[in-house]
């Protein structure tokens, strides 16, 4: 990641979700990324926003795609799997590190009712 290039909040979510899913069983694609964010962050996410952001991250060379073979079931489809590139992993690490340095001492977020 070049100097002055930071991840936006939603970009960070997506990168984090991709990293988690990739570490688990290499299963990061649009739908799973969206679910991951929805379950973990507890906010609704539009699939269009996920793909639009992934497109932007690819342009920045932080993620790469690989199209899978169609699944061997009737109506099976191919998926666009997402991986973090080396630059992407670095950017994620830097952003999370910055974030962790910034957070200590802050009052905890108000509990959701």
């Amino acid at each position: 990641m070049g100097k002055g290039q930071y991840l936006g909040e939603f970009e960070l979510y997506i990168m984090a979700a991709t990293a988690r899913l990739g570490a688990a069983n290499n299963d990061a694609y649009g739908l799973t990324i969206r679910r991951e964010i929805e379950t973990r962050a507890g906010r609704g996410v539009a699939i269009g926003a996920v793909y639009a952001t992934l497109g932007r991250l690819e342009e920045k060379r932080l993620v790469a795609f690989s199209i899978s073979e169609p699944r061997p079931v009737p109506g099976g489809r191919s998926r666009k799997h997402v991986h973090l590139t080396a630059a992407g992993r670095r950017a994620l690490a830097q952003s999370t590190a910055m974030l962790t340095r910034m957070l200590p001492g802050l009052a905890p977020a108000p509990k959701k009712p």
Binding site: G30, G48, A52, G55
Partner: protein, 873 residues
């Protein structure tokens, strides 16, 4: 397993919004989720979830898609378009010329609309200027000085209320005294308009005071032509009709006098009216009034304010002011109200021509696109995006329309000048045509719209095919061409409908002009030159005046090439005098209304008015002989039916001297083609001493065309009688006649040209569509021929197929034409808007033309050798 399907409309929305790259994955992801939720929590929850996703996803996806239309991609499409268009130069040239004609005509007409209707008036804050008039007996009337003074003093709705009236004066600057046009204006008029003098000053309060020196302001043109643009003219005294006036200012060159918007003459000078007073005679009405509204006051509020004054005046002066109401309108709307409808109708017709042109080009591109079905299918299969194809066709359409617009703009500017030169003088403000930003913007809009129409239709066509077809798609596959044929049929119907609307508008105007031409004036206008001789020194002496006119007409009659000379108080189509009279019929006196004129013995012969009974005036009708009159047939028909008119007496009012009818002449329409035939009474010029009228007009009938050629000799003859005599208002009757019908002719000429253009373009379109569909059906036609179909039946099949689209087009066009005709009602002359013969003729013409345009390709298709047709694959 029959899984439930995600909602279709939501899917379509996503399909449209997403890029080619993302589309498949987004849809698959959502579908996967949809199926999971449907299994777990039921259809409804799944659908709700799907819809929410679709709605929230559309915007971010579309944003990506729009970002992807990069300039580089458009440039690539542009280069590709140019290559494709250059590959078939013939079709490309046809398309560009078609669009150039449409866009050019549109630019030309819109420039006129812009100059006349859209450009603000050349005054300060023109939106607060209003025009005021009165409604008397249901008709619009100018305002009297007394009422004007009341309005100006009694209303605080206006910052100022000004007035002006046209006038003429004899100007003695130069060798020959000449009659010039000018305006008498209220002292505040220039200030009200925000107009300033270029040299000197405009009028001030002291110029209007009683007893003030007479002052004069010159127009820029008069200052340049008559005073050599000499700034020292300020302060100089100039003789106007024998009275000295001090020149106090010269207006700027760009100043347009408001009188110019109400008449065709240009004011050369401005005189200051004395301060108006409410004590002016209430019967005299001759002022046009302009007001500047106070900020925040609406036209209606101001009109109400004047209405309260009207009510008071009606109570005070019931004789002159009962039922009189002041009316106001924004000045800009008022000065163009006579031409607004016709200009907008013309603009609408030009818009239809552009539509036809764009459809023709779209058709051309559809035909080409169908030829490229295989290529497009291959490109789609190889991964080209649908948006690539769409952009490519749009760029192709826009390339054509831009090329058309460039050519169109060039010929539009030229056409516009032609238009302005041919326009009747009744259209104001045409001397200020420029290529304004508004016109360029309008041309740009027309270009983009026609380019998009021309590009989008074929793109949709080819993409539709691309989705359903596969690589095996072949030229003769009929499933794909069926939709194409439906599209083309629809375009054909639209073209025909548009063309018929324009043709009908033109038809109604042609009929109006034909009827106008057929109106019999009752006198011959050809080769007659008329002019006015106002001799101030003989005004009070009828005998001297008569002697002067006799002498002049004797001298003019001796000029070679002159066939006849007459003089009168005035000649037809140049205004006149009317009033009441009593016809002393054998059964008792009858009150009548008639037009009056005092005429010389030669009047009827010179104008070609036939003497039906009795005699014309002769030299023996002198001031001391018994007073006689000649009347027109209409007077006899109306007031002396079944009575021998010769010998009957009339008088101008009870107790006035009786005048004996000695002749009856044919009816004339004194005020021109639009006037009704009214009873006429002619007095003998030699007996004018007893009427309130002075001889001042002369008519000369030439032996050959162009009576103006006689003018130098006529001037010489007049100067021989009185060197100081000015000649004014020199007009040939033919000129007056054509000026009176000029706006009709102009509208007709324009609409007829556009109708011809629309018709030609529409027929080219019909021909193209039918030729193409016949070519597509070569195989089918071949089979029919092989199975024994006759040539006639094949021609019927193809022509019938075209008419099946053309006839609904004609019907739709007629329906739209009824609306147009109603809007055009004020442009028509004794033709009802729903004129059945015109509708019938245009319908027949259109049907015949469409049949003809489809017959030609049909015959060619029928003539093809069935064996060759079948061997095509």
């Amino acid at each position: 397993m029959s899984a439930p399907l995600p909602p279709r409309i939501a899917t379509w929305l996503l399909r449209v919004a997403a890029t080619d790259e993302d589309r498949r994955f987004v849809l698959d992801d959502l579908r996967e989720e949809f199926e999971t939720i449907a299994r777990e929590s039921g259809d409804r929850a799944a659908r709700r979830r799907y819809w929410r996703q679709a709605l929230t996803s559309a915007a971010p996806l579309a944003a990506v898609r729009i970002r992807q239309l990069q300039p580089a991609r458009v440039m690539r499409s542009l280069r590709h378009s140019v290559r494709v268009l250059r590959a078939s130069p013939g079709a490309t040239v046809v398309a560009i010329v078609t669009l150039a004609l449409g866009i050019g005509a549109n630019t030309a007409v819109f420039s006129v609309v812009d100059a006349v209707l859209l450009r603000p008036l050349p005054y300060a804050a023109p939106d607060r200027l209003v025009s005021a008039w009165q409604v008397r007996d249901g008709a619009r009337a100018v305002i009297g000085a007394a009422d004007y003074a009341e309005y100006a003093a009694g209303s605080d709705a206006f910052e100022a209320l000004g007035a002006f009236m046209a006038t003429t004066r004899v100007l003695a600057a130069g060798t020959v005294p000449e009659e010039v046009n000018g305006d008498v204006v209220s002292q505040n008029l220039f200030g009200l308009l925000g107009a300033h003098a270029a040299v000197g000053r405009t009028f001030a309060a002291q110029d209007a005071r009683p007893g003030a020196d007479r002052t004069l302001i010159l127009s820029d043109a008069a200052w340049r032509t008559r005073f050599g643009a000499d700034p020292a003219v300020i302060g100089r005294s100039v003789l106007l009709s024998g009275q000295p006036h001090i020149v106090i200012g010269v207006m700027r060159g760009d100043f347009e006098a408001p009188s110019r918007f109400f008449s065709t003459v240009q004011a050369s000078f401005f005189l200051c009216a004395p301060a108006s007073s409410a004590t002016a005679p209430r019967g005299d009405r001759d002022l046009r009034v302009i007001g500047r509204l106070r900020a925040g006051v609406s036209v209606l509020q101001a009109q109400d304010a004047l209405g309260r004054i009207d009510a008071r005046l009606a109570a005070e002066f019931p004789d002159t002011n009962r039922d009189v109401r002041a009316r106001l309108a924004p000045l800009a709307a008022d000065v163009t109200q006579g031409v607004r409808v016709s200009l907008l109708v013309i603009l609408a017709c030009v818009g239809l021509v552009v539509l036809i042109a764009a459809i023709n080009v779209a058709n051309l591109l559809i035909v080409k696109a169908l030829g490229q079905r295989r290529e497009v299918a291959i490109r789609l299969a190889l991964g080209a995006g649908r948006s690539d194809i769409l952009v490519e066709y749009l760029v192709r359409g826009l390339t054509l329309s831009t090329a058309g617009a460039v050519c169109g703009l060039a010929c539009g500017v030229w056409t516009r000048d032609l238009l302005a030169a041919a326009a009747p003088p009744s259209i104001p403000r045409l001397d200020h045509l420029t290529l304004s930003a508004r016109i360029l913007a309008m041309t740009l809009v027309v270009t983009v719209v026609s380019g998009v129409v021309a590009g989008l239709l074929p793109a949709l066509q080819v993409l539709r095919e691309g989705r359903t077809s596969n690589l095996k798609v072949a030229e003769q596959s009929s499933s794909g061409t069926r939709t194409a044929r439906r599209w083309q049929g629809l375009l054909l119907a639209t073209e025909i409908a548009a063309a018929i609307v324009v043709a009908l508008g033109a038809g109604l105007l042609v009929k109006s002009v034909l009827l106008l031409n057929r109106v019999d004036l009752g006198f011959q206008t050809d080769r007659v030159l008329t002019f006015q001789l106002r001799a101030p020194d003989t005004r009070s002496d009828p005998a001297a005046r008569l002697a002067f006119f006799r002498l002049v007409s004797e001298r003019v009659a001796r000029i070679p090439g002159v066939r006849g000379v007459a003089f009168a108080n005035n000649f037809p189509m140049r205004g006149g005098w009317s009033g009441g009279l009593q016809v002393l019929a054998p059964s008792g006196p009858v009150d009548a209304e008639a037009d009056f004129q005092a005429v010389s013995e030669t009047y009827f012969a010179t104008l070609g008015v036939p003497v039906i009974r009795g005699r014309a005036f002769t030299g023996s009708d002198r001031s001391d002989s018994p007073p006689v009159v000649i009347v027109s047939q209409a007077l006899v028909d109306r007031f002396l039916p079944g009575v021998e008119p010769i010998g009957v007496a009339i008088r101008r009012r009870p107790g006035a001297p009786a005048l004996t009818i000695v002749g009856v002449v044919g009816d004339i329409r004194r005020d021109g083609k639009f006037a009704a035939v009214t009873p006429q009474v002619f007095f003998a010029a030699a007996q004018t001493a007893s009427y309130p009228v002075a001889l001042e007009a002369m008519a000369v009938r030439a032996e050959r065309e162009n009576p103006r050629a006689l003018l130098p000799s006529i001037r010489e003859a007049i100067a021989g009688v009185n060197p100081a005599q000015s000649i004014a208002n020199i007009r040939a009757l033919d000129e007056l006649l054509s000026a009176s019908v000029a706006s009709w002719r102009f509208n007709m000429l324009l609409l007829t040209s556009f109708a011809a253009l629309a018709l030609a373009l529409a027929l080219v379109g019909v021909y193209g569509v039918v030729a193409h569909s016949a070519a597509e059906r070569t195989r089918e036609i071949g089979i029919r021929a092989a199975l024994g179909a006759t040539k006639a039946s094949i021609v019927r099949l193809v022509v019938g197929g075209a008419l099946a689209w053309a006839i609904p087009g004609i019907v739709a066009g007629l329906a739209a034409a009824v609306v147009l005709a109603r809007v055009m009602a004020s442009m028509l002359f004794s033709v009802p808007p729903a004129d059945v013969p015109t509708f019938a003729i245009v319908t027949a013409l259109m049907t015949a033309a469409a049949t003809m345009a489809s017959y030609l390709p049909a015959r060619r298709a029928a003539a093809a050798d069935p064996l060759r047709a079948l061997r095509m694959d």
